[in-house]
Amino acid sequence: MASTSFTNSAYDDNKRPFSMSSLRGTPSSPHTPQHHLRSNNSSFASTTSSTSFRGEEDAIIFELGARWLRAGFEGESAPMCVVGCGPEECRRVGDYRGWLKTNNPDTDPAQSRPLVNPEDWASAYELWKMDLRGADLGLVEDKIERVFRETYNKYLLTDAGTSRLVLVLPAIMPHPLLSAMLSTLFSRWRFPSITLLTSATMAATAAGVRSALVVDIGWAETVVTGVYEYREIAIKRSTRAMKALLQETGRMLTCIPTARRGVVSQSAPGDSGISVRFEFCEEVASRFLWCRPRESSSSADLQQQQQEPQPNDSETEPTTQHPPLSSLSQRTVEIPSPSNPGSTYINLPFSTLSEPVESVLFAAGTADCELDDEEKPLPLLIYNALLTLPPDARGTCMSRIIFTGGGANIPGIRQRILADVAALVAEHGWSPVRGKVIEQRRKLANLRISPSSQVQASPQNPAPPLTTDPSEEHHPVPSNDTPTETKSPEPSTHQPEPKPDSATETPKQQQQQQQQKIPEDPPKTSDEEDLEDPIEQKIRRNNRDRDRDALPPSIQGVLREVESLGPWAGASLTTSLKIRGLVEIEREKYLQHGLAGATRDYETQGHHIPDRRSGLRAGGGGDRSSWTLAGWG
């Protein structure tokens, strides 16, 4: 019910406290003032919001993940609370041992803790697992019921079940799990309806973009989702995520000699148990884990060095990297001793604390051939996800990379991933084909192309065999790929990079520089205009009342990170704009048939943000006699 009033006129433009016309220039038709003053207060919501005809309370938004639950009201910028469901939350009522510091085996330093299998060590802290074979769904229902009840009672402080519920869920949920969750919520409380939203799309919404590559470094999986025009069009997953990272950190802390007094774990580090407490490990991980910036001396870059004739660049990079890194690597930090967190501290080299990140998320020290499909390192995962996108979508998505999830908080990880992806692109281009012959041909092709920069001046020129991709054309690869350098129509801005005086620049800075270069670059933008997304053009045409020059052109084809406020905030935004989700499950209909009542032909109902002009909800969903699970179906 978004915009019934927005389509209408307002004759008293000058009477309004704030001038809308100044924002939009000359409106094509008169408008109704928007309700900028609409507060979050539900008691006023019904009177100020003309779009809701019945006094509808603010929806409540829950974002559910495998570990954490975020809850709050629509229209707020941040969730009211973040709740976990660890073993402490799953105790019996009246069991206060979490508060006891004495006589508690969990906190008692006197007892040496046994080695625990890493899976069991982490699984107690999960709300659910994707692998439902061994899962007790009843237990999940119990947990969900309790965590919702306590969230309502402690943090939301409203009566549960009176207002609409919006759930932000990962794009793939096992049906038994989804069914268990919905059944619990509907049968326990009287929610009139539950709306499901996907987290990736909501993350894109909260960044203000329509298309994005959302990298969700979550608990069990890292999910890379290509979102194009609010639709999820490609998903890649990897098990290299926070769970594995915490387990690795746990192993690392277990192996610290003082951790297990004298007990040396002889078994291989891969399958050894963990003796430190999970909470302690998570605490260390959240405080001190960091990610090294990309080092060009790694094996991948050595190959790149061999392939590409840019010796000066690879020489300069080690020197640029070292000032920050070398100063850090000698540092030590004090962390509480893993065996006895309460009393003693141990010193750890700061560089040690980046090792779990390297080995887990980036698969350092593991050969590519040993990696299974499900455990690709994150840069490769992102590269693959981009590769599966159609070229135009790829160009759009690659300059709108959004990091969410717990892993995105590791300092340094975003720049590192972007740098690695850039290196992959520089090495292979946008081609899935690998092999020696390909590399030779590629080298030849590069040699042939590099001198002739004028050939590249027009992007419509048939590209060399390996770069047939249109997105490649306007893609200045940050890692100084020579072909792309020469392709640039304005060599003067790009030339200085290989020069020795740019030696102090880190690749990230170069990359950043290039991101900013594009809007400033008039010939380039005019070049891009030819390639520009027709949708983008249309928007520009439609918004011609606005001053075009005031807005920077949208960026395409460069790797760029965009910050999002997170899926929860995205859902809050979407809901507060009264945009209805596609999956809206009404109570009565669900109670009738459960998940089986959903229709499969969800394509008829439009796309994800359906029908903003829903004053007349013509055709399609209409009275919503049928409902759909859309992507979850």
Partner: protein, 688 residues
């Protein structure tokens, strides 16, 4: 060991009714949709064995039991449904909101706008969560007028104060709004922390939503050049970004929906598109496409070509690309000497802070979360079970139907064997419940005290061997007995001291029981028994021997029976004697029993039900055997006895159903539930 031993938990009967899955009905009817996706010959999904759950022994160690077990005093009772009600089978309604710190009530209209937090001066320390106090920095008394300087919030526990984050307040009142204005402007970590700012010279253009629009460039033509994306790393806080995005989306939606292709703008002209006109009326009266087809098919056109919004592009629209060196700066700060472990905020500290807050010096004081008083209703019949008084200061209740007024209160205590008790049995409790010797019979006294005004007949049942790996043998020597009515207190006082002997054990043996009695008895009779009995001494104790089939002791409204327990042995270190791990036990029990039951009637169905599960289960079992076999799970050494309690009584029909029965008619009632008695911990040092 959740509570001091011995303890008793009651399992709410609602645990036996699983959440109904509506799709099961559908599945059984084999809808055409399902049939198309399923192969028709495929066997139906196996029936859940939960249906036979109530015939199963309650396993206190099952992970689910944690969610259905409650201390008896946490339970309510619905007089209409005649059923125990746990927090899961009630619905709650908020009566009032109040701040637990200042006990001020917050009106319901203000609660949400204040973010569910106290709007006054109540703050909690961000470092240690202790309440913060408002203190002045200078207190100069000059000629009668005391001049008080800037104010700070300080923690009396950890000595944190807002000076640590460079915040001072001008006034000692309304700290929350002052703080909001101080923090709305700068949340970028680069601000100099020592700079003390005053409230007056800080404006917060982004603190409220309405003022955002004033922030926009006044006219598009005059857009300042610095509004371009190079400013995109600007100091917009997440909150401000959110509101900027929101207004951006609103502008876009209104701009795109007013595009010339808009059906209403074209079809109806300007006359109809005034704010309150046809559009709204139509959407009031039509939910289907009836009217829209009437008013022209133009509404189909925009469906094919929906107007598109553009993306946010500038920082003022909420768009943000991170600074290139933001992460490097973070790493440098983390590794800096002055930061260290304690300079970084813990997970607990970060929960309610801004997502960017990583260091302790970025934490802001938190206004105290409000609390609520809630009325509780039965979920099935909607009768009010608890209704507190509205005033936050009052602790009284208008209605409170707690379960202990209806179900007998169980208390457990060890029966000290007379010879082992030694000379002074009063001072030294004979048994250490934290280290029960395995394989040695132990006698326990279970007292059930009735709080109803009707006598109750109790039947107890317990599995002879407790579920789980540590199999302890349990025998209730007298499983069937009566408890007297909770009659007038004076009756017993006049009866004399005959019943005092039994209660004396409660007073003398373990002191906690007497206090427990005192605490939980509500009728007023129990304290009387306890106190009068305590000095009565240990007269009857030495002669008594527990006999099968006989009640140990009996009072006015309580009865004590003897339980004999032989604690099992803990699994020894590495050699796997008992195969079933803790999680596996209930499931295999299920499969065994169902197999036996259904063998007689239909073998195939039960087998077909088992078959799909089998591989996964076997693999899992194997895996779990390898891993968990050796190790003692936490709390596995606790001896907990599941006891099934069934109580029957005749009560007056109090619910006056019009025309059905007179008030005096007696109705037979019964109530059954599982109870878990926590006896103690089995001594791990004694291994067989």
């Amino acid at each position: 060991m959740s509570r001091p031993f011995p303890y008793a938990y009651i399992s709410c009967p609602c645990a036996n009714t699983p959440v109904p899955d509506p799709s099961k009905k559908r599945r059984s009817r084999e809808s055409p949709q399902k049939a198309s996706s399923h192969h028709p010959d495929q066997p139906k999904p196996p029936p859940r064995f939960d249906d036979s759950e109530d015939e199963q022994t309650f396993d206190p160690r099952a992970p689910r039991s944690n969610f259905s077990l409650y201390p008896p005093e946490h339970l309510l009772y619905c007089e209409d449904c005649h059923q125990i009600k746990c927090p899961r089978c009630i619905t709650e309604e908020i009566v009032c909101w109040y701040c637990p710190n200042c006990l001020f009530e917050t009106p319901s209209s203000m609660v949400k706008s204040e973010g569910n937090r106290c709007a006054r001066n109540c703050f909690n320390c961000p470092a240690c969560t202790a309440p913060l106090a408002v203190n002045t920095l200078e207190n100069v008394v000059r000629g009668g007028t005391s001049q008080q300087g800037p104010w700070v919030l300080s923690c009396g526990y950890c000595m944190w104060s807002t000076l640590d984050i460079g915040i001072k307040f001008d006034k000692p009142t309304n700290i929350r709004t002052q703080l909001a204005k101080l923090t709305a402007t700068d949340t970028n970590p680069s601000r100099s922390r020592q700079m003390s700012r005053t409230f007056a010279d800080l404006k917060s253009p982004l603190s409220t939503f309405s003022s955002i629009d004033e922030q926009f460039p006044p006219a598009p033509g005059e857009a300042r050049p610095d509004d371009s994306p190079d400013q995109s790393n600007g100091p917009l806080s997440p909150d401000a970004r959110f509101h900027a995005l929101k207004s951006f989306y609103k502008t876009q939606i209104s701009a795109t929906s007013s595009s010339p292709s808009d059906p209403l703008g074209v079809d109806f002209g300007a006359g109809f598109s005034s704010p309150g006109a046809l559009n709204r009326i139509m959407s009031l009266y039509t939910s289907s496409s009836r009217l829209s087809s009437l008013y022209g098919g133009a509404s189909k056109k925009p469906k094919t070509k929906p107007p598109v919004m553009r993306e946010a592009l500038t920082a003022s629209e909420g768009f943000k690309t991170p600074a290139a060196d933001a992460e490097a700066v973070l790493i440098q700060r983390m590794a800096a000497d002055e930061c260290g472990w304690d300079g970084l905020a813990s997970l607990e500290q970060r929960v309610f802070q801004s997502p960017d807050a990583r260091f302790v010096e970025e934490l802001l004081p938190l206004a105290t979360l409000l609390r609520t008083k809630r009325a509780k209703r039965c979920k099935s019949c909607k009768h009010i079970l608890v209704k507190p008084e509205q005033k936050p200061q009052s602790t009284r209740f208008r209605i409170r139907l707690i379960a202990l007024s209806y179900i007998p209160l169980p208390t457990l205590r060890p029966l000290v064997p007379p010879p082992a008790a030694g000379v002074t049995s009063g001072s030294a409790p004979g048994m250490n419940l934290d280290a029960l010797p395995p394989l040695r019979p132990t006698q326990l006294l279970l007292t059930l005290k009735n709080h109803m005004f009707d006598p109750v007949r109790i039947t107890l049942a317990t599995p002879s061997v407790t579920p789980g790996r540590v199999a302890s043998k349990v025998t209730i020597l007298c499983p069937q007995f009566d408890i007297g009515a909770n009659s007038d207190v004076w009756d017993e006082a006049l009866q004399g001291n005959t019943t005092a002997a039994g209660a004396a054990v409660a007073g003398g043996g373990t002191g906690s029981n007497a206090t427990a009695d005192q605490r939980s008895s509500r009728s007023g009779a129990a304290p009387a028994t306890a106190t009068t009995a305590a000095p009565g001494g240990h007269l009857g104790m030495f002669e008594k021997v527990a006999e099968a089939g006989k009640v140990w002791d009996k009072g006015r409204n309580w009865t004590t029976v003897v339980l004999e327990v032989v604690p099992g042995t803990l699994p020894p270190g590495s050699s796997g004697v008992t195969l079933q791990s803790r999680n596996q036990a209930p499931r295999t029990a299920h499969s065994k029993t169902t197999g036996n039951d259904s063998e007689s009637d239909s073998d195939t169905s039960s087998f077909g039900g088992q078959a799909p599960d089998w591989t996964g289960q076997a693999a899992e079992m194997q895996q779990q055997q390898q891993q968990q076999q050796q190790q003692l799970q936490p709390d596995e050494d606790v001896l907990e006895i599941p006891v099934f309690v069934r109580m029957e009584w005749d009560s007056e029909n109090q619910i006056d159903r019009p025309g059905v029965s007179a008030a005096g008619e007696m109705v037979k009632r019964e109530l059954a539930y599982w109870m878990v008695l926590g006896v103690g911990r089995i001594d791990p040092s004694v291994l067989s």
